[in-house]
Homo-oligomer: 369 residues x 2
């Protein structure tokens, strides 16, 4: 049984063993009016160690950052067997090199994280959910950029393209108007007055955005829940549309989202593979879902070239191959497209330093030299 070792509400930190689940940590924090920012959909079964190793995010990252931004210190065992203690129990620290963030996101290839000191935040008492339907992707993406440059940063800013909206509506009738070509879900949090004010500010920004078709605030917690249930059902729902769903997790600067989605539509037609897009638009982080039947030879053959074209598109837009899912095995062959040789060499040298025998998560993240 993995444990919370201590929680210091006045210092807003929690120290725990890395094997504890994200949800267990959230429950321990909530008892003190606090929370830990990373909120992956897998919170009930993913562990804090896993969240840190993969630099987990989730919808809330748009306001609160990812695991990297919400950790103070670590204890870890390197591949050399050395016990490392990185970081501090304080929210500032300028002594030595930042090994904490070197380990966060390294997918267990440098060291095994055993304990963590997590940075906590005050748990908002209120939240409110809005949805905004736009005529098309360009209009929705312009609205995302407008929202992100005003001071009321939402705690979620999700995007669905037309196919995703259709799927979500098929799952639960959320009553989206037919003219909606792209949908945003926005959530604000804070105390009662902050939420009221933030909702007004976002509504003003959205109403001033060209192409708005509908703007609705969830009147009740149930209505908000319905919207999130439909959003979270997208990923499993896609599995029923095609025998194989290949889910990529690309990220581009927010203002490049329209080019990304248009480019994906072109590739979908070119390779005859349906592509459905949704995700965390406030960070420019879209989940790109290629739907296919591997038994169909033509589609099976097209998968790899189509994926490669998707990655080339993303990189041409100054994006990254992964916003929060990481590299693992599947994206490893493409890493050298994003990271140049000297930088990749420096990473390989650090891997060699901390895990010279290559015993930690071998064959992951970094492509062979």
């Amino acid at each position: 049984m993995n444990r919370v070792l201590r929680i210091s509400p006045g210092d807003r930190f929690l120290e725990c063993e890395a094997g504890i689940t994200n949800a267990e940590v959230q429950r321990a924090c909530a008892a003190h009016g606090l929370f830990w920012a990373p909120d992956p959909t897998s919170a009930e079964y993913s562990t804090v160690g896993g969240n840190l190793a993969c630099n987990a995010g989730g919808p809330r990252a748009v306001k609160y950052g990812t695991a990297r931004d919400n950790v103070l210190g670590l204890r870890a065992i390197a591949g050399t067997g050395q016990s490392l203690r990185t970081g501090t129990a304080t929210t500032k620290g300028a002594v030595g090199y930042d090994l904490t963030r070197l380990l966060v996101g390294s997918e267990g290839t440098l060291a095994v994280i055993t304990h963590a000191i997590l940075k906590l935040l005050p748990l908002p008492s209120h939240r409110r959910t809005l949805r905004a339907g736009f005529t098309g992707v360009d209009e929705a993406a312009a609205a995302v950029a407008a929202v992100m440059t005003q001071p009321h940063i939402p705690c979620a800013l999700e995007f669905m393209d037309q196919a995703a909206v259709g799927l979500a509506c098929g799952y639960r009738d959320v009553g989206v108007e037919a003219a909606v070509g792209a949908l945003l879900i926005l959530e604000v949090d804070g105390d009662a007055e902050m939420v009221e004010r933030s909702e007004q500010a976002l509504a003003e920004t959205l109403r001033a955005s060209p192409g708005l078709v509908e703007l609705k605030t969830a009147a009740t917690a149930e209505e908000a829940q319905l919207l999130w249930t439909a959003r979270k059902a997208l990923s499993p729902a896609l599995r029923q549309l095609a025998p194989l769903k290949v889910n990529e997790d690309v990220v581009v600067p927010v203002t490049r989202i329209p080019e990304l989605v248009r480019g994906l539509q072109t590739l979908s037609a070119e390779f005859a593979i349906p592509i459905v897009n949704f995700g965390h638009a406030g960070n420019g982080n879209l989940h790109v879902n290629l739907l296919l039947d591997p038994a169909e030879r033509r589609q099976a053959d097209a998968l790899e070239p189509c994926l490669a074209a998707v990655f080339r598109l993303v990189l041409s837009l100054e994006g990254s191959l992964s916003g929060e899912h990481g590299v693992g095995l599947a994206k490893r062959p493409y890493v050298a497209w994003e990271i140049d040789t000297p930088t990749l060499d420096a990473m390989r040298a650090i891997k060699q330093l901390l895990d010279p025998a290559g015993i930690l998560n071998p064959g992951k993240v970094l492509p062979a030299a």
Copy 2:
């Protein structure tokens, strides 16, 4: 002439050469209603490269984080001569190891930062400054912890002990009541309504804190400015009290501030060296100023043992030797007191890797093995 290479307001990033000053970056951002979070007092002459290399903070770090939290990517030349390109232009990224934050705070010992992509934030239109006087340090520190666990995080939460208050009042009569044993300066920012609401929320929290002697909101921008001028005059004013001012920059968890200040009072008496404390209380980051005359043999002899005792005290409170000033030469002998041998060895190995000839800022940060 160092330059802003581009600014993308919709993506909230700015790319620049590292030799540009912090203030030049702020002016370029302000034209687009944005700002870069680090706000060191040296903003007019310190460079972005220096801010990143030292992981600069400033008062605003309590709400917005330090340089480490507000950078997306870097270009840098390692000691090996390799050109590194780290990070992304996006606010999320999970490909490869986080070399960006390995370089941030490494004080130029691993690589010379030449370019940076900075993460920007929406510039608040309004701000308001409060000051809260408490009977003593314990009461003020408890109020700091209470402020930091409610949802209206101030954009500054500064602390002055009684000696610092006396100095500030001597510089400019800010009218602090005689019963005040410790003073907090708090600032909130946002749009007009947010500022109004945040001020109310902080005032409620402060009034509920035991030991409050006075609570005043600056009625005008001039009154707020007066308070900040007095706060910022502290550091130069100290130089006039004694021929030598040794300024340490320690950090402890917020709830340990009372123990720190009490401990410092004991050490001041024991070593007969006056110590004045002020700083960024929201982060537990206090500037500890030892005032002495090196011509006085007894004081000169007491300095090193007194400093060592200060650092032992800080570490016994789970603190760190430096919150934002870094290690450089002066604190290098003490680094091994904070960081254990295997972790320090890992840092030394990384230094050896990226700067094998030891040509970058030699003799800084890491103590010899």
